[in-house]
Amino acid sequence: MVKKNMCALDRAIRVLFSLVCIYFGFIDTSIINEPLLAMIIGGFGIFNFAVIFIGICPVYHLAGISTHKEIKK
């Protein structure tokens, strides 16, 4: 079982970041003005929401990083 590796502050920052990504990716695409980039950024925002929801960041996991207090060394 993979342990959770994100702390509350980490998640909060990611929520803001994801909202910004989804806004520019799907809602107001005129700023980016390029469908492929907008889709990637929007997709990243949705993916990040999923990460926040399960509490495990795959990149953190692969890189051996954790901001979660219990296993933070």
């Binding site: 980016i32 003005n33 390029e34 980039l37 990637i40 950024i41 990243f44 990149v59 692969l62 890189a63 051996g64 990083i65």
Partner: protein, 625 residues
């Protein structure tokens, strides 16, 4: 800390490279885009100008005047482009004042300059970007010139492109950051694994997986001064034999089993290490002085159990040396050294266990001090000759003396030869020392001779003397110097001396024998040689060691050994001297056994010459007349 810094550097490196690539990519893309747009615009402009020029050319050919054409031109102007006609000197044929309304004054426009560069191009005037194209009419009499304020705005386009590039850059940098994090983790993990493997290899023995000498050294550096420790050095005695006879694989197997037994037996230990081939070390924390010995005995017991290798039961034995910290050694380095010295001593003397003491250490501090002062002692006359009488049992007369050397040290008092002879042997002073004793003994013999006292003098030789090719000639010179017949000098050697290098020893002994010097084997019975072998040497006398003589009245074995040695020696034609006679009963018994001569404390201890002479006056065994 270092791992972290490597990681941070890796991540920063990755991100910087991705940014660099993006900037480079951005610049090249931006420039290419500009160039493509510009070229496209110019080619459009050129074809448009050519079309218009062809029309005007046709009209001119059909008889229209240039002024009429100039008046028509505003009809084809658009809000972004102006057509003008130039004469053959590239001067504006000014046909309409409204031309000036197009942001610039056409009358001041540098037509001449532009047309000298070609028939199309671009120019930036008053911060506006213009493209232009020209076409000659009527074989260069006139030129149609089109100026176009470009819809294409480079800064605006660059901004749009830059924004996209920036967003792409952010996405790619972000991905690079992820990749860097993940890769750095993997790289660090591999580095750690390699490092751990290397460290393990450097500090542990491959065969037994025990820590090696370096690891032990590290542990020794961390010893606590307030705690007692013992270091045991365990040496397997017959590893080489097993390697030679059963092969190295069996030897390795033996080492593995021995290592396992030592580790399991020596508990609780701080560290068990393999020092070299067949040498192991065990570091213990000790509460009592005997604890180390108890554990050493347990190890000896466990190791002596048979080891099953290749369907054979191999029995091996070990020698263990032990040194205590801080009792025997003040520094961790000397602790290992002294434990090894003890182990070597145990091995040499064929015992299982030896705890460190000053006596066994050839290089302890006192010995080193003695070494430096012994050289002076010989020159400054600090050596004294002592004489111990030998009694002829058949006649009850004193017939000879054994000369023994003592060192009258100015501070330490009398030092026995046991202490300084090994040092003399070690620092090449033994030749000088023996020479001194021989000289002194023969001088004394000469003195006695002048007083009508005829005694043989016996001098002990060291093993090193027998290897000295000059010994015989030295003896000869001294005999001549003091005018002593060779038969009155006796030289005593031990069995072990001859055994160490029999060929050279035999050569020297033969020369001495030919000169007429009589030779005697000292401490007989303590070595391994048989009388039959000794008989082959050019000797005339054997001296039975004191250990047999001392208890011969009470110990049946000793009695039998003494008796049979005397009989056998006599049968071989050798004289027998019994050493260590301590009472009259022993002396009588030796006489009954027809021992030739006796020597011991019962008669007299070794005495200085003057006291010996006094003893001779009063004793029961006067000198023969």
């Amino acid at each position: 800390m270092q791992r972290m810094s490597i990681r941070i550097r890796l991540v920063i490196g990755f991100v910087l490279i991705s940014l660099f690539v993006l900037v480079l990519f951005g610049i090249v893309t931006h420039r290419t885009t500009l160039e493509i747009n510009h070229n496209y615009e110019l080619s459009l402009l050129k074809s448009f100008v050519t079309d218009q020029a062809n029309t005007l050319d046709n009209q001119l050919s059909q008889g229209a005047s240039i002024d009429q054409l100039a008046q028509q031109l505003p009809l084809i102007n658009s809000s972004f482009s102006r057509f003008v006609l130039l004469d053959q000197h590239n001067q504006l044929i000014d046909n309409h004042s409204s031309y000036d309304s197009f942001n610039i004054r056409l009358s001041e426009f540098p037509f001449q300059q532009l047309l000298s560069t070609g028939l199309s191009g671009s120019i930036t005037l008053n911060q506006h970007y213009y493209a232009w194209a020209a076409k000659p009419l009527q074989e260069n009499k006139f030129t149609l010139f089109m100026l176009h304020q470009s819809e294409y705005n480079p800064p605006a386009n660059a901004r749009a492109l830059g924004k996209r590039m920036l967003i792409t850059a952010l996405v790619i940098t972000w991905l690079a950051f992820w990749v860097a994090l993940i890769f750095s983790k993997r790289i660090i993990r591999q580095l750690d694994e390699k490092n751990a493997a290397l460290t393990h290899k450097a500090l542990y023995d491959d065969l037994t997986s025990l820590p090696n000498r370096y690891r032990l050294h590290e542990s020794l550096q961390q010893l606590n001064n307030n705690t007692s420790y013992a270091l045991l050095v365990v040496d397997l005695n017959n590893l080489r034999d097993i390697n030679d006879t059963l092969g190295h694989r069996s030897g390795d197997e033996l080492l593995k089993v021995a290592a396992e037994r030592i580790s399991q037996t020596a508990t609780p230990n701080l560290i068990v290490a393999r020092l070299s081939g067949d040498e192991f070390a065990v570091l213990l924390e000790t509460n009592t002085p005997h604890q180390a010995e108890e554990i050493a005995r347990k190890i000896l017991y466990e190791i002596s159990k048979p080891i099953h290798i290749d369907e054979m039961d191999i029995v091996t034995h070990a020698s263990i040396g032990c040194a205590h910290y801080p009792h025997d050694a003040e520094t961790p380095d000397s602790l290992l050294n002294r434990a090894e010295v003890s182990m070597f001593h145990a091995k040499q003397t064929n015992i299982n266990y030896q705890a460190y003491n000053n006596e066994i250490d050839p290089l302890n501090k006192q010995r080193l001090e003695l070494m430096s002062s012994l050289r002076k002692a010989i020159d400054q006359g600090q050596l004294r000759a002592y004489y111990q009488p030998k009694i002829e049992l058949a006649t009850q007369h004193t017939t000879g003396v054994e000369v023994l050397v003592r060192w009258q040290h100015p501070e330490k008092g009398i030092i026995n030869p046991d202490e300084f002879i090994p040092i003399a042997e070690r620092c090449n002073l033994i030749d000088k020392l023996t020479h001194w004793v021989l000289d002194e003994a023969l001088r004394q013999c000469h003195m006695w001779k002048q007083n009508d006292l005829d005694l043989t003098v016996a001098v002990n030789l060291s093993a090193r003397n027998l290897l000295d090719a000059n010994l015989a000639s030295q003896v000869e010179a001294l005999l001549t110097k003091w005018q002593i017949p060779a038969k009155q000098l006796k030289l005593e050697v031990t069995e072990s001396m001859i055994m160490s290098d029999p060929e050279t020893a035999l050569h020297t002994l033969n020369r001495l024998n030919t000169m007429g010097v009589s030779l005697s084997v000292d401490d007989y019975g303590t070595g391994y040689s048989s009388l039959a072998y000794i008989k082959k040497l050019p000797i005339q006398e054997i001296k039975i060691d004191r250990t047999f003589v001392k208890d011969m009245l009470h110990n049946r074995d000793d009695s039998v050994i003494v008796q049979s040695t005397i009989e056998l020696a006599h049968n071989l034609g050798l004289c027998v001297v019994a050493e260590g006679v301590e009472n009259e009963a022993t002396l009588q018994r030796l006489a009954e056994l027809q021992c030739n001569r006796a020597q011991g404390y019962y008669m007299s201890r070794p005495l200085p010459a003057t006291q010996f002479e006094e003893w001779l006056q009063t004793c029961k065994w006067p000198a023969a007349q």
